[in-house]
């Protein structure tokens, strides 16, 4: 295996028309074109997808785990933000 590492890419696959692209994993490639081809070969060989997005991993900015408490825990006791207090008509089956 080669010693010089190609850049890392995050791969997003749309499984069928109308659905969102979902994160499938990451892989190494020299350029965007190769990243798409590699993604095709690594992540769609069992008919998983109809469309591929690739983003070089360095362009992804993430929230920091240390800030998790201040970012997410305040939502814990705010159940009123969930729309669960409405009575839905019976005809609505997909809510």
């Amino acid at each position: 295996m080669s010693k010089t590492q190609w850049p890392l890419w995050e791969i997003f696959i749309r499984s069928k028309q109308g659905l969102d692209h979902k994160h499938a994993g990451s892989l190494h490639a020299a350029d965007p074109q190769m990243a798409i081809e590699n993604a095709r070969d690594v992540y769609t060989r069992r008919m998983e997808g109809v469309s591929i997005w690739v983003v070089e991993s360095k362009h992804i900015h993430a929230s920091s785990p240390e800030e998790a408490a201040s970012l997410y825990e305040p939502a814990n006791d705010k159940a009123y933000r969930h729309p669960t207090f409405y009575d839905l008509p019976d005809e609505l089956t997909h809510m």
């Binding site: 295996m1 080669s2 190609w6 892989l27 190494h28 490639a29 020299a30 074109q33 190769m34 081809e37 590699n38 095709r40 070969d41 690594v42 060989r45």
Partner: protein, 255 residues
């Protein structure tokens, strides 16, 4: 009928031998992603060969009262019965040589299958139509690699030049028709390979230009033997020894 069988076997052998060569990279690819890519391509090619072998077996059984299967044809024929082009059996060498061999061959298969789709033989036409989608990707993938290697580093450029030097002499054979190819073209179920040469050269020269590689490459005389008629380089014997060992040592074994 014999010519149709030979023609079908020729198409099958091309895909099987090239597929086997590419499969030799499985586990040894330069990086994981390319290991998977070349193995996928190997599987595509071996799948194509199965379709052709199954059809050839059916034709043989109908016309001669034998009962051969795809396995008989792949695993129990000797080198001089194989009808693949010499290019397909050339050793992998380095990544550049493997890529270039696939590029030359995929460009040929692409133009071949495009026409073979219109074969007067429904089965050959259907196999060509299915295979064309796969080969279109092989051609795209190997083209990108030829451009990267040619227009890459000093070392990659040197290596792809060496690959051209080693393989160019095997490209003439592809477009020289064997008897069964002539018969196939005349009857309308096959393709006149000499008519593919222009398109093939245009494709190769276009990619070579993007790859900053010289076209046409310095001309060495083409090789004199003719794999399509069973006159192979020494390499095919080694391929068959490995590929056929299990079937010959343990006939019809299952697992």
């Amino acid at each position: 009928m014999d010519q149709l069988i030979n023609y079908t076997l020729h198409l099958a052998d091309n895909s099987l031998v090239l597929g086997h060569r590419n499969s030799e990279w499985t586990g040894y690819g330069p990086v994981l992603e390319q290991d998977i890519a070349i193995s996928n391509i190997a599987l595509d090619l071996i799948g194509q060969s199965r379709n052709f072998y199954q059809y050839a077996a059916r034709l043989i059984n109908q016309s001669t009262n034998q009962s051969v299967t795809e396995d008989t044809l792949a695993y129990l024929r000797d080198a001089n019965q194989f009808k693949n082009c010499l290019l397909s059996e050339q050793p992998n060498g380095d990544w550049a040589k493997t890529i270039l061999r696939l590029f030359f061959f995929s460009a040929y298969q692409y133009f071949l299958y495009r026409q073979l789709q219109n074969s007067t033989d429904g089965t050959l036409g259907a196999i060509a139509e299915k295979s064309l989608k796969e080969v279109t990707y092989h051609l795209r993938w190997s083209s990108e690699w030829v451009i990267r290697l040619g227009d890459g580093t000093e070392e990659s450029h040197r290596r792809i030049l060496a690959a051209i030097d080693a393989l160019w002499m095997y490209t003439d054979e592809i477009f020289e028709a064997a008897d069964y190819e002539l018969a196939a073209a005349n009857k309308g179920y096959g393709v006149d390979v000499s008519s593919l040469k222009d398109d093939w050269q245009k494709k190769v020269s276009n990619i070579f230009e993007q790859a900053t590689l010289p076209f046409p490459p310095a001309n060495k005389p083409g090789v004199r033997w003719f794999g399509k008629e069973g006159k192979h380089s020494e390499h095919l014997g080694y391929i068959l020894a490995e590929m056929q060992f299990l079937q010959r040592a343990y006939p019809d074994s299952q697992w």
